[in-house]
């Protein structure tokens, strides 16, 4: 869940207010937005991806971080390079290359597909012991 809006980094652009799919933030006239409905946060990291100032930290926990958790401690998180982390992977921001250029999902999907062909993949009883048809991908979900 969203835990931190950094006071020192935020430039009040309200992009996070706009892009959060579950409307967690609330704009504040003349100030930083606030986390108004944390319990509605679905931990999708989209606000982090879109914040131009690397001012947000979304903790990976499905619930609120316990009191005193380092996941709410801005100084600690900054020292670990946690702000703007998802943006770096996506390659979003000035002067960066899109991370998708390094997407190798095809390798991992292909790996499963080939395993299915040679029968290494034992989906549960799916073909009842009969040979698998060629090219069968047992839908890995990604």
């Amino acid at each position: 869940m969203i835990e931190v809006i950094s006071d020192s980094r935020c430039i009040d652009c309200n992009i996070c207010v706009e892009v959060c799919p579950t409307d967690v933030f609330e704009a504040v006239d003349g100030g930083h937005p606030v986390i108004a409905r944390q319990s509605d946060c679905q931990t999708c990291f989209m606000c982090e991806a879109n914040c131009p100032a690397d001012a947000l930290f979304v903790s990976p926990l499905a619930g609120p971080a316990p009191a005193g958790s380092p996941l709410t401690d801005e100084t600690f998180l900054a020292s670990q390079g946690r702000f703007g982390e998802y943006r770096r992977w996506l390659g979003w921001g000035y002067g960066r290359r899109p991370g998708s250029l390094q997407d190798r999902n095809y390798v991992f999907v292909e790996r499963i597909r080939r395993a299915a062909e040679v029968g290494e993949v034992g989906e549960v009883g799916e073909t009842n012991g009969q040979p698998r048809p060629p090219g069968h991908v047992p839908h890995p979900g990604s």
Binding site: P21, D29, S100, Y106, I112, P138, H139, P140
Partner: protein, 552 residues
Amino acid sequence: MSRRRATPAVVPGEVDVLVLGGGPAGTWAALEAATRGQRVALADKGYCGTSGSTAAAGNNLWYVPPVGSARQDAIAAREVAGGHLTERQWMERVLERTWDAVQTLADWGYPFPVADNGEQRRNSLQGPEYMRLMRRRVRRAGVVILDHSPALELLVDPDSVVTGAAGIQRQRAGTRWAVRAGAVVLATGGCAFLSGALGLNVDTGDGALMAAEVGAELSGMEFSCQYGIAPAFGAQTKGLMYQFAAFTDAEGAELAGGLFPSGLLDVQRAALRTQVYARLERAEPQIRQAMRWSQPNFFLPFDKMGIDPFTQRFPIRFVLEGTVRGTGGLRLVDDECATTVPGLFAAGDAASREPVTGAISGGGSHNGSWAISSGGWAGAAAARFAAGRPTGWSTAPLRPAGGPGLRPRGHHIVGPRADDVVAALQSRVLPLEHNRFRTEQSLRDSLAVLDSLWSAVVDGLAPDSSDAHAVVRSREAAAMLAHARWMYRSALSRPETRGVQVRDDHPDTDPALVHRIRVGGLDRVWTAVGEARPDTHPQARVPGALAQMAAS
């Protein structure tokens, strides 16, 4: 003074095509309608470009080149895996359409990776990049985008033709919106019951509820029990990388492993009695960086927790993805993605994906291709329908069709609270013991609870209309409850194990049940036999005794 980037769009009073939902299905639909010179508006509950399953998760596609027998092989394989509920003609169309659409994405500049041979590899779309691009194209096409504007109900004309929708603007103090439209495309995604699975809390099945209120029917709702694997601390249900996992129980004994989590069903069964752990120990060190670049949203949560998933064992849990990575949804009646209701078209996860995924999850490649294809078809058909409407639709009186969770029938009853309704229905649909491993008894027990909840909701669930979030939540509660009842009634009508449905009291696949199951109704939920042996492939075989369990 804080800055606003852009002034939010003005709600148009009338358009030709109104698209509800702005994920891949909705954006492809809007583009297709707009290219035909139609006035188009798209309303999303959240924000078109970040909202929904694809934006957060990303999509590997069902993307097969038109080379040799590749497509026929892929189709034949799916017919078997999908329990013979697929349709060859739909699969062919989807493969073709996806191929073309991906070319379009390349032309628009989607940054596809380039393989060693210098060719682009185009079978994967990273969510944030893909949906940001789709938003840009939709805007450029002149579509009016209404963000943070969940639709609450459909509007029908005196002939019961769907002629628009109405909703609420939750970032504008709950101002109501209503748009008259010549046709409506429902692309509101599936229903994941607020389980928290990656990006899915916007997908609460609102579209199917709205459609059912005007008489639409559904299909495949028994195949709605897809669970994703997530680290226990979170709910990020990206699954592909678990092909490198070894799964162990609390004592450290190995439950399953291998190249692919072969015995995933066994692992889920084990999860009923023990905490299950995983470790991606089978990934060779030299491929780990490529794994990270491929699925940064899989690794991000571990990095933030300071866990190295390659070397450290971490507890996992199974999170319901409902109909998003299940199969069921609104039943389409023709190639154009029409529903059973005139003026109403459906696309993406809002529609049943049985034609291309059959009885198993399509959430590893087929769903994304289906969203692209069905979105395009639905958008085009809606545009044609709108253009062909007799004059007069612009001025016909419209009736709002919304009921449960919006307009309680009882007047003096103290109704249930939406949050309590959600908690109660979740207790019957989220746990593996109720939904993964089904028996007639457990289904009936669940339905008893859900049916009485439904009566209470219909009579008395009344949101505080001054609170936009409460209004939306109330409607979502009703939609999820309707889904739970459709899902379990359908499951009762399929006394066998097929695809993702596992019936512990009927562990075999019954050759007599190679047909789809239609379902519909709200107060009284009915089921009926649907298309029988839609897959008429001559060599069709009945799949094996146990469900195919993909590592979705």
